[in-house]
């Protein structure tokens, strides 16, 4: 499949069908607050990872520290 002068692989085309980036970015508006949806998703994932890092038990292999 050709795009301009470059030929794209089948994998690239399939990935593009799943995640279509060929459009302007989605933006979230809330009063004065404005942020791209991609940045908002990353921030939400960071909060989830932060909560999981606190909540999930850490494997200690039955060996304690000092």
């Amino acid at each position: 499949m050709a795009w301009g002068h470059r030929r794209l692989s089948v994998e690239t085309v399939l990935l593009g069908a799943i995640i279509n980036l060929n459009h302007p970015a989605h933006v979230v508006h809330w009063h004065f607050f404005q942020m791209s949806l991609a940045n908002l998703v990353v921030i939400v994932v960071m909060i989830v990872v932060f909560a999981a890092a606190i909540a999930l038990p850490f494997p200690t292999h039955g060996r304690g520290g000092s």
Binding site: V49, F50, A53, I54, T60, G64, G65, S66
Partner: protein, 243 residues
């Protein structure tokens, strides 16, 4: 050489000061406190791992140049490794920052540890920004033209010209990375010197008006519960009153 001459030697004095400030057993300890066994303490070393990947991939990119990273397959790959290592670097660094903020990691004489980390974060931002300006593509031109007005409004545009590729590239591959790496090394040495900050004391019972006031914040070593108070001797049996 006499002992007196060795005392005057700057190498001897430097060694004694360095070993006194950072004994080897503290620089490379055998164990860590038990409270370190938590996922939230992992994000500092994850940040360092991401930084190592950034530096290694960046060295390759600097050696090969823009034509290589734009027009070859391996160049695309190393360029992507560099980009995604930066994304992960900021991701885990911010989680590390949140964790240390909410446990007040500046407690117990760790102010310099906190400040070196905070300043390192602030310097990492323009380091990444100059990297986006150094891509040598339309994205870099778009970012530069969008950023120039903001930079000029601060007055910094006279000596920090985002439209000057050579200047941005110098900032990106030399000046700012050296500052970030130096601050990270200083930060880690301070962590080794003062120890990892302990968590806040945990209370089993809900605090109320009659509860025990919180214990004072402590530093390393880990806070230990106080020993049980001595029990009073048992009272002698009381004589039974006769009817």
């Amino acid at each position: 050489m006499s002992t007196r001459a060795e005392k005057r030697s700057w190498t001897t004095r430097t060694r004694e000061i360095a070993v006194g400030a950072m004994p080897p057993e503290r620089l490379l300890p055998d164990e860590q406190p038990s409270y370190v066994a938590s996922w939230i303490y992992v994000f500092g070393v994850l940040t360092i791992a991401a930084l190592i990947m950034i530096v290694l991939s960046g060295v390759v990119l600097a050696l090969k140049g823009p034509a290589w990273w734009h027009y070859t397959g391996i160049g695309h790959f190393i360029n992507s490794v560099h980009l995604w290592a930066v994304e992960l670097f900021f991701f885990v660094m911010v989680v590390h920052l949140w964790g240390k903020y909410w446990m007040a990691a500046w407690r117990g004489g760790r102010t310099r540890t906190w400040m070196t980390g905070a300043v390192c974060f602030l310097i990492a931002v323009p380091t990444a920004f100059t990297g986006y300006l150094s891509q040598q593509n339309f994205d870099a031109q778009w970012i530069a033209t969008q950023a120039k007005d903001g930079i000029n409004a601060t007055g910094a545009g006279a000596f920090f010209n985002v439209l000057n590729f050579g200047q941005m590239y110098s900032y990106h591959i030399l000046l700012l990375p050296v500052a970030v790496v130096a601050l990270v090394i200083w930060h880690v040495l301070l962590v080794r010197r003062h120890g990892v900050v302990p968590p806040f004391p945990v209370f089993a019972a809900a605090p109320g008006p009659q509860s025990t006031p919180p214990a004072p914040q402590s530093t390393l070593p880990a806070p230990q519960p106080p020993p049980d108070p001595p029990q009073p001797p048992p009272a002698p049996p009381q004589p039974q009153a006769k009817p």
